[in-house]
Symmetry: C2
Subunit: 456 residues, 2 copies
Amino acid sequence: MTQTAAEPELQPQAEVGQVVQQLTLLEGEAQAEVFGEILEEAEPGTIALLLESLPLDERYERWNQIAFAERSAVLSLMRAEPRMSLLRQMSVEEVDLLLAQLSAEEMIEWSDYLPDSFIDRALAQMGERQRKRYELYDQYSENEIGRYTEHQALVLSNKSRVEQAQRFFRRIDLDCCENLYLVDEDNHYQGTVSRYEIFRQDPQTQLISLIEPDSRVLSADSSLIEAAEAIEHSSDIELPVVDEEGTLIGRLTLRTATALVREHYEARLMASAGMDESDDLFAPIVKGARRRAIWLGINLLTAFLASATIGLFEDVLAKVVALAVLMPIVASMGGIAGSQSLTLMIRGMAMGQISIGNLFSLLKNELGIGALNGILWAILIGLVAGLWFDDNLIGMTIAVAILVNMLVAALAGVAVPMILQKFNQDAALSGSVILTTVTDVVGFFTFLGLATLLYL
Amino acid sequence: MTQTAAEPELQPQAEVGQVVQQLTLLEGEAQAEVFGEILEEAEPGTIALLLESLPLDERYERWNQIAFAERSAVLSLMRAEPRMSLLRQMSVEEVDLLLAQLSAEEMIEWSDYLPDSFIDRALAQMGERQRKRYELYDQYSENEIGRYTEHQALVLSNKSRVEQAQRFFRRIDLDCCENLYLVDEDNHYQGTVSRYEIFRQDPQTQLISLIEPDSRVLSADSSLIEAAEAIEHSSDIELPVVDEEGTLIGRLTLRTATALVREHYEARLMASAGMDESDDLFAPIVKGARRRAIWLGINLLTAFLASATIGLFEDVLAKVVALAVLMPIVASMGGIAGSQSLTLMIRGMAMGQISIGNLFSLLKNELGIGALNGILWAILIGLVAGLWFDDNLIGMTIAVAILVNMLVAALAGVAVPMILQKFNQDAALSGSVILTTVTDVVGFFTFLGLATLLYL
């Protein structure tokens, strides 16, 4: 969908889909040839996406076509698991050569999934300054913006004048940086000067007099999503990052923020199925099966809980088979209603929009919606069930169970993520499995328990 | 978490959570006072998030504190439903006054949720140029980047010289634009010149000689996510957008792209529970219930399908109650395994990484993982079930059903999103409900069908 200015022709970035199709339909030599052509034009981000979409054997072959100088850039832009799939194919010497090319920022990004022995060797190869930087970033957790700070920034003393800044600017690539940051002798952040001011002002002007009055500073322990939002809503395309003492440790750019936002959401989407943002489309079967087995196991435990609940009521089930037929409806309506409340809550919590102050209003609202839908569907399902089995009692039983379960679902949809947050657990990961357990157990218990009272 | 440069103090943007808490714990006068203070400092994006997190009655009250000049900016940054909640409270005259302030770009954004009568009145109020622009953007669908193009851009004739560009630059706010775009007399895009070149080059230089050789162009019918990716991976912070004839219609900035990426993912997350990105945390109960009822209704149909499947086997259920107890386990293992494959597929499809060429390899991989986990869990669950009910036959029955259902789940997880795409349906919206129907029906049919053969 993109074209170069001079000659409108294929620019693969926005066309990953087309290139993937072109490439995956070919094999062997033919694929190698087309990939060679793509390599000449495409950016590392595209190559990364392409490699990820190839089955492992083809991925290894195409990887060998990539020039050594390009390799670390491509690997850095791949997801962690596909990246590791390539690293595992290499000799120790090859890996070391690659690691030696990484900046502290890239090393941090890789380190989350790299075996410790690799990290140790990489650090040993690093220069003193890079290692110090690595250690600085590594102090921050995966959810703190300090970890993703870019070190490269335009920094001058707060005593400098415009002429010094102008000299500075002539030496560097102007595309690199948007703002100039002033620091005192202890490297404490003092203020931001827009690069454009430098060209307009008299060379003798003190830079400190040009500091933007409202410029923002990010604290290194801010969460990713808060920091990304701050930069998205600010008028700047980069913001300085300071540590607790106010020392300038680098900057966060809008581009990095965009990548972090994307990763945050991908992680949430994958987590909803018990998977990881780093997962490979073509994981080796044993490895892929092992990763997914954990989630299946957790889910099995909750399914056994549901079964055990049903097991309490074998007597009534033996007498009224219709109950077994209708059971899935009770569980499923509760599960869906609960997941709607939960989804709304998780979104609100990620944006910082939910707090102790509005929690009660929210709960009231969700219970109201649950009650209204509960009554509606209870009546409808009760009527259908009564007609289906020609038995009004069973219609009444399921109606009550549906209403109760949908109210409990609303309550659990609000309460479960809040409780998980209290215990520092990620609601996006474990919220839905806990919620479904609650609605399954409550649903079966109400439905079969009530039936026991009425039929036995 | 952010601080101003001059006096390190609260900057609400990155601290929505704290301000929400502060505000929602207060009521009436006290809340009004604090909100007034926040209004002085905070940016429209923060105010928008704050209003969304207030229950409707408080939201209306706080809204009245906002100065008229700020209102359209705040509304534009709110999600569509909360925005409508405020618009619905206003008189026709008030709404018209607000709509009159909107640019064509904002009007497009609002129009997706605005009643037609409002749009017609707003268009009637618009100046000729704004309306033409509105109509230009409105040609593109919600998923095409042309719809979200910013009109404001630095455009000069391809015959201009550097001195004209310099004069141009002195007149405008430099923060607005990153690049200069050259067009011919028919407004066809000719190339991009970096703003920084303008300051470095001789005034007599022809601009056309400064065109960047590799600069990207976005086609107006590119999808949002493709275009956002293109800009994220390019070295520019904005890209020109052209229509089919090559006419320059505007530009896409990295900031807009970031917002679009966020909305894309929010929509996918909300869609997974049958909800909408525009939904209000505090929807009025009747409205909220109605919106969610649709999804509950669709889900009920699939639950009835599952029940009907069970209904085919009433005889064996009456004889072997253990089957009713174990049913949820078969359905749930299939559902979870299928949703794992589906989640991986949807992510890959959104990134353009899945095509007809690698589909077969993917299916083989997923079936391999399904078979491995199927065998593992079939044996385990079979043993537990056999011991629980002291009946080897039931252990065997559930083991076979689990294995079959997990293989079918892998197949459906790959096939369902591809089939939906074939029919231009959004797999993120309807994929999971179709998948669960398949695994429920197949699971119950295999489990109870096999039991009928063995027990009757």
